[in-house]
């Protein structure tokens, strides 16, 4: 079951939440809508579900126009950030709800409902809690109940709004792995919204990065990480150092470094920015190697890496990640003057 979103726009008052967004989600795909808060990702998800009505544009589910259908008719499973479980019902009744509200002609009989609910509870590994109330469960368990409840109605697509947002870091990681295995098992077309890039890269087949109501980039996690299409994506998907400079006639210059930049075809010089991830920088005690001189102010061990924080002569911070082995050999210490050289720079012309 595929999802196709065409030219969706949505305005709240004077605030344009979604501005002309189009994309397709293939059958069985797991796609992340990633972006900072207020970028329109949740609004877009709610429009796909039919919980919100777009100002213009169309939503197609399995190729059929669903724009005018309400949420009841669309057959989507929706999982909310704060679970939205029915507090006065047991876990079993919560999961059975979608089946018991069906019109009598399409409602399975009691034994069949019971069998299906228990199957789903086994799938989310909570069958032993079937007679508890939501208030007696932990956050992670509640979210799994919410997921089982959404799956009970056999939705064509599954939409998840910040499904791990309200959980502790540890629970979040476990649940994420579990959800990925579940998706591999049932292969249900799914879209989830998150502001956590690690979560998006870890879980999704494809990541759609949004900013200010528009799509910045749409691609596989490795594409987005390695070939960011815009400074926004560059900044959003991880720590990055930014060097300001100019570009002209196929070359870009940032302070002491000059690199090839074929995109700059004009001979007149234009402002440009070069971006390097902390692991794409090298430091050396050799101050005459053509690097940017900077003073080391702080050394922080961070797992397999050591993070160096430096200040250049214009008091801009530069962050460098070194392999721990290298730091053990070199023994850089705070106060030293070092030379910083980028191994790789991603360059964008500035407007």
């Amino acid at each position: 079951m595929s999802i196709e979103v065409r030219n969706i726009r949505k305005t709240f008052g004077t605030f344009a939440a979604v501005r002309d967004v189009s994309f397709t989600v293939g059958s069985g795909e797991l796609v992340a809508l990633l972006g900072p808060s207020g970028c329109g990702k949740t609004t877009l998800l709610r429009i796909i579900a039919g919980l919100e009505v777009q100002d213009s544009g169309t939503v197609l589910l399995s190729g059929e126009d669903a724009s005018t259908q309400d949420v009841r008719a669309r057959g989507v499973g929706f999982v909310f950030q704060h679970y939205a479980l029915f507090r006065h019902m047991t876990v079993f009744d919560n999961v059975a709800f979608g089946l018991t509200v069906r019109p009598r002609s399409r409602r399975p009989d009691k034994a069949e409902i019971s069998r299906r609910v228990h199957d789903l509870l086994k799938l989310v590994q909570l069958d032993y809690l079937h007679d508890r109330y939501p208030s007696q469960l932990s956050g992670g368990q509640r979210q799994r109940v919410a997921l089982a409840r959404a799956l009970a109605v056999e939705p064509k697509v599954l939409l998840l709004d910040e499904p791990f947002g309200a959980l502790d870091a540890n629970v979040r990681r476990d649940l994420r792995r579990w959800l990925r295995r579940l998706h591999e098992e049932i292969k249900l077309t799914s879209v989830f919204v998150t502001h956590d890039q690690e979560e998006a890269f870890d879980l999704a087949d494809r990541v759609i990065i949004m900013n200010r109501g528009q799509i910045e980039q749409d691609g596989r996690p490795d594409e987005v990480a390695d070939q960011p299409k815009s400074p926004f994506v560059m900044n959003f998907v991880g720590n990055v150092n930014r060097f300001v400079g100019t570009a002209a006639a196929g070359r870009a210059t940032f302070g002491p470094f000059t690199v090839d930049y074929p995109d700059a075809v004009d001979s007149t010089s234009r402002p440009a920015a070069g971006y390097a991830r902390p692991h794409e920088l090298e430091v050396s005690r050799n101050l005459t190697n053509g690097g940017l001189p900077a003073r080391l102010v702080h050394v922080t061990p961070a797992g397999a890496l050591v993070r160096l924080e430096l200040l250049d002569d214009e008091s801009r911070t530069i962050v460098v990640d070194l392999p721990r082995v290298q730091q053990e050999q070199e023994q850089f210490h705070a106060g030293e003057r070092l030379s910083v050289i980028p191994r790789r720079l991603t360059i964008f012309l500035e407007e």
Binding site: R87, F97, V153
Partner: protein, 276 residues
Amino acid sequence: MFSRQRRNVLPGFRLTMGYTILYLCLIVIVPLLTLPVQSWELGWSAFWRVVSDARVVASYRLSIGAAFAAACVNAVFGLIVAWVLTRYRFPGQRLFDALIDLPFALPTAVAGITLTTLYAPNGWIGRYLNDLGVQVAFTPLGITVALTFIGLPFVVRTLQPVIDDLDLEIEEAASSLGATRWQILRRVVLPFLFPAWLTGFALAFARSIGEYGSVVFIAGNMPMRTEITPLLIITQLEQFNYAAATAIAVVLLVISFALLLAINGLQAWTSRRLAA
């Protein structure tokens, strides 16, 4: 029960607990206990004669019946009012919200006089109702109207915070699972509100059983027909028949207490499951 093992930010468990008991004794328990003591002067047979007098029994039926009817009316319309005031934004909302408390603040006699003027056979509303063959003032119906006025804020004010607590997401979740508006109301919203609803109902009901000021004007106070129990108590007092007055009061007290206990029990049973 009196242990101090758990350290608490509020100091002096013994002091505050002692104060609570003393306060309850002075304000509630002692005055209420003097009732049976005073009525005991009558002796059992005289007590029974007073409280089982046909006129008195008719008044119990009227007081409890009208209070129950009024509480039911308030339960339905109070729910709608509370829902609208909590869920929707509209001009004049804060004014409407403030109006809800008016029955709390208004001297009940004022309410009684106003309602009587409106609903009397020649009153603004009563005139038209009279043409339809419905008489409100000086009938049990009039008493119910007065008690409805008195009880409204109890239901609305108890429900408002609970409705506020009911996330819109819950309703969205239900509709995404295929439930119709009616199914959402019946299976999700009402069960969620039920404990608070019951509390509001019980409060309105209890207040109405004892209501005097607003009722006496509109009731007409005809023996056996429109005489409420509190009025009979006052009548006995005016004749300096204190023992008889307290005897009737004891019966009213026992009935009210039993009803409240039952409703509270039901409420506790349903709300235990909702505890978050």
